[in-house]
Symmetry: C2
């Protein structure tokens, strides 16, 4: 197996790479359990080397077809397409979002179409494809109605993955990712960045600002579960997916107030008190258009799983990030 | 007002042009009833001249941005974007469909984005955005699931029109057109071409082949009503449309058997007997993925109207085409 991860220097890309290297195999044309011979990580910025002989790290702009053509080569059997301009950035710089989130996705699919293998392509979409007046729980089969350019570009990616798969150019799967929390590191330009920040910063002894009201409801998934879901999506038999290759992933439906209460229960009131509430209209309005819960019977029947509780998600972050730093 | 029609040499484009010239006005930034000063018809092939001093006819490839840039100029106030590679052709030539149905739409919107006016853009989408397992009547808010590249490209166009409108780059409206029947002229590469052919050819004394079964249910609109709907879509106040600029047009839900029975009632059994039934799997399978009826409460509340009966649609064709030819 010859696997490519776009966005390979990002947090999810990096973590997925480590999981794949540890696992060592993926399902290929010859069936499950095929050895991963090469893992290519491509990103616009470099990251600290993974130091594994199977890893090839490439730096460049995936919206540049000529460059991407050298990344996804005749031996590529699988692509995890995670690279994206995040929501806040795609809203601030329309042309950049279109270039990376739409043009690069299109270029990637076009390159796959010309390859001798039919690559499995796992595309990371988002709950941001939904918007407008939504019921408390978004039923399956609900029309997308993105209220951001990011969500629009992801919805277009889903449509392309479906059509390229229907025509047999790729064997694609699109996952509508919930908001991922708790991300390590620093805040980013995603409008959902606070959903990690209000947990991460207080645990790190730093103040955090919560830009939405306590009753804002989020649809969340932990980093560990996202990695499980990405790999599981790759391993699924295409026949199980039917005519629509898009799967809305299960998540936890938690209000921001409940997130903070969980933090207090796990880490104590002193930690939770590091959060200052200061509504930011731009963020609050956009977050309000995202679904707070989604019906995911289909995803669950396919074997995708969410986290048990948000407290377990916080503990996962503390185990992964804080203990390793102290150790 | 300075109006552009893409696909201006096509049947609908031509008919829309004549209707606009006769009407003489459209709603502009200054309100309703603004005089149409110029009407630009652009198409890849020329058509017999319309002989009106307001008309400018341009021939070229709208997927060529440089060319399109000269068509939609700084004075353009309205665009009716009708040009498309039809379903059968987009299925047969994937690259061509992507180039015209996706790239040209994108180029058109990009050009509009840079113009000093915010043009009203009416985009012709299609019921082909729907597919998969559908109920007898497709409810509003149903997710698209196109089973053709044409339907995929139209669904992407809708998403782009929505996002460009949300950001204030254009003032867009997308109409999901039912299958149009009865089209005059010759069969085309649309998979729905038979829906006109089985009426038109017999009325013209010619044999016709029906490639689908009699119980195949179609969602139909007459040419006259489509023109009404295109103009009505342009005239609507954006506020009435809400966060989704896409409107599924009302239609007539008629089985192919009922279409033929209507033909027999209007024109007699001798005419209807000119139809030979010969199922074509490629056509029948694709048509089966399209909805036979759609809930259109929203469109009706906005003032869009379907035809009364399919018999009236047949009579409309006979009045428009046969009498003018005889006269």
């Amino acid at each position: 197996m010859n696997v490519v991860i776009t966005g390979g220097a990002g947090f999810i890309g990096r973590r997925l790479a480590r999981a794949l290297l540890e696992r060592g195999t993926l399902t290929g044309l010859a069936g499950p359990g095929q050895k991963i011979d090469q893992l290519t990580l491509v990103d616009v910025t470099p990251a600290p080397a993974l130091r594994d002989p199977r890893v090839r790290e490439v730096t460049g702009d995936i919206a540049d077809s000529a460059f991407l053509n050298g990344v996804i080569d005749g031996e590529t059997t699988s692509v995890f397409h995670l690279a994206a301009i995040v929501s806040g950035m795609a809203e601030a710089d329309f042309a950049l979002g279109m270039r990376v989130n739409l043009d690069a996705t299109r270029a990637l699919l076009e390159i796959c179409r010309t390859r001798r293998h039919v690559p499995r392509v796992v595309f990371s979409s988002s709950v941001a494809v939904f918007g407008g007046a939504l019921p408390e729980v978004v039923p399956e089969g609900t029309a997308v109605n993105p209220q951001s350019s990011y969500g629009t570009q992801k919805a277009i990616g889903e449509l392309l993955v479906n059509d390229y798969s229907r025509r047999g150019f790729i064997d694609g799967r699109s996952l509508r990712l919930p908001t991922i929390s708790v991300r390590p590191g620093r805040p980013n330009a995603a409008l959902s960045s606070f959903a990690s920040g209000i947990i991460r910063e207080p645990l790190n002894g730093e103040p955090a600002i919560c830009p939405v009201d306590a009753d804002a409801r989020m649809w969340l998934l932990s980093p560990a579960r996202v990695i499980d879901c990405l790999i599981h999506a790759h391993e699924l038999d295409a026949a199980a997916l039917g005519t629509d290759r898009t799967v809305a992933l299960p998540g936890l439906s938690v209000s921001v107030g409940e997130m903070v209460a969980s933090l207090e229960r796990v880490a104590g009131p002193d930690v939770a008190e590091r959060i200052r509430w200061a509504r930011d209209e731009r963020v609050a309005r956009m977050v309000a258009t995202w679904p707070g819960a989604i019906e995911t019977t289909h995803a669950q029947s396919l074997g995708f799983r969410a986290d048990d509780t948000f407290e377990s998600v916080i503990r996962q972050y503390m185990d992964d990030e804080l203990s390793s730093r102290r150790g």
